[in-house]
Amino acid sequence: MKITVKDAETGSTIDMDVDEDNTIGEVVESSATYWNKDPGAYVIRFGKQQLGGRTSIGGTTIQEGDVVELIPDPTGGR
């Protein structure tokens, strides 16, 4: 199915074809690579949920045409 990934930092979007077996981690890696994101941790947010990397698309409520967001995970603090 086709979903849309949105870069929360820039507002850019990209369509992505995913299968139920694909993981959220694969969506993160593919989109971060596509946008050549700075090194760092990123996560996928869908609605009011942050989805873990090991979770498969089939294990979520994501459906055809949905938009998920790629957001930076703030891991600094010093």
Binding site: V43, L51, T55, P72, P74, T75, G76, R78
Partner: protein, 264 residues
């Protein structure tokens, strides 16, 4: 004999009068809660200040680093003299926090959290993560979860920040929300020597305002735990964006393959 007679101005002589007016504030419970703060940088400075002012008196503070001058755009307790003398961050905060509350005990541990004995984390009632790296976060997450200790993790990146509240065994943990990008960053940081940063890492923008907001939320959650108000805790993460000054609460589901939840 009944209660002592009321005297005019009594309310203003009690340091915690305004806290007690919340109704739920339990001064003794807050004072006696053993708090572990991991990291004495920007978040650690603000967190310790807020903990002390909120009434916490039993604090362990872990950090292996020393003060540098560029810390001073966001770190309340650090001075130029501390930077010149390369003083240990944890010791500086422990020393200077006494000016805020002479009866507080902040015990500094100048080493990596990973190098402290296995049972160290378990000796505390709550852990506040004020860290800047994923390796240490994963260590604290694993040990706190295993011992059933609530872990309140703060993080910032420029003007955005987050607070994740982990209450074992009921909630997801930090690892539940991670993916390969976290592990790539962790591996890069430690791949060369295995014990310290030896590769170039770009300096990250950091300011006191985002830091203050994130650490204040962390201490607010610690206060809820100390006062038995678990039903009010964040479920599971607060995400703050200082660019627009907006905040969202985001659910982090328990990941089916997370090793910490597999153990249950």
């Amino acid at each position: 004999m009944g209660e002592p007679a009321l005297r005019p101005g009594d309310a203003d002589r009690d340091r915690y009068d305004r806290s007690k007016r919340f109704g739920w504030f339990d001064r003794d419970a807050v004072r006696d809660t053993a708090v572990l703060v991991v990291g004495a940088g920007a978040l650690g400075n603000e967190t310790c200040k807020d903990l002390i002012l909120s009434g916490f008196r039993n604090i362990s503070l872990v950090d292996m680093d020393h003060v540098v001058r560029s810390n001073r755009n966001r770190c309340l307790f650090f001075s130029d003299a501390d930077a010149r003398q390369r003083r240990d961050k944890a010791r500086v905060i422990a020393d200077k926090a006494a000016a805020f509350a002479a009866d507080a005990t902040i015990t500094p541990h100048v080493e990596r959290i990973q190098d402290l004995p296995g049972g160290f984390i378990a000796r505390h009632d709550v852990v506040l993560g004020c860290l800047d790296n994923i390796e240490a976060r994963l260590h604290v997450n694993a040990h706190a979860y295993r011992h059933g200790i609530p872990y309140i993790d703060g993080g910032t990146r420029g003007l955005v920040g987050k607070v994740q509240v982990v209450v074992p065994p009921d909630t997801s943990c930090l690892e539940c929300g991670m993916n390969a990008t976290h592990h790539q960053v962790k591996d890069v940081r430690y791949s060369c020597t295995g014990d310290d940063v030896t590769v170039f890492e770009p300096k990250m923008a950091s300011d006191v305002n985002t830091t203050s907001i994130i650490s204040a939320v962390q201490v607010q959650e610690a206060l809820k735990l100390a006062n038995g108000r678990r039903e009010r805790l964040i479920e599971n993460m607060l995400y703050y964006d200082g660019n627009r000054n907006v905040a969202d609460v985001v659910e982090v589901p328990i990941a089916p393959a997370c090793p910490h939840h597999d153990e249950r």
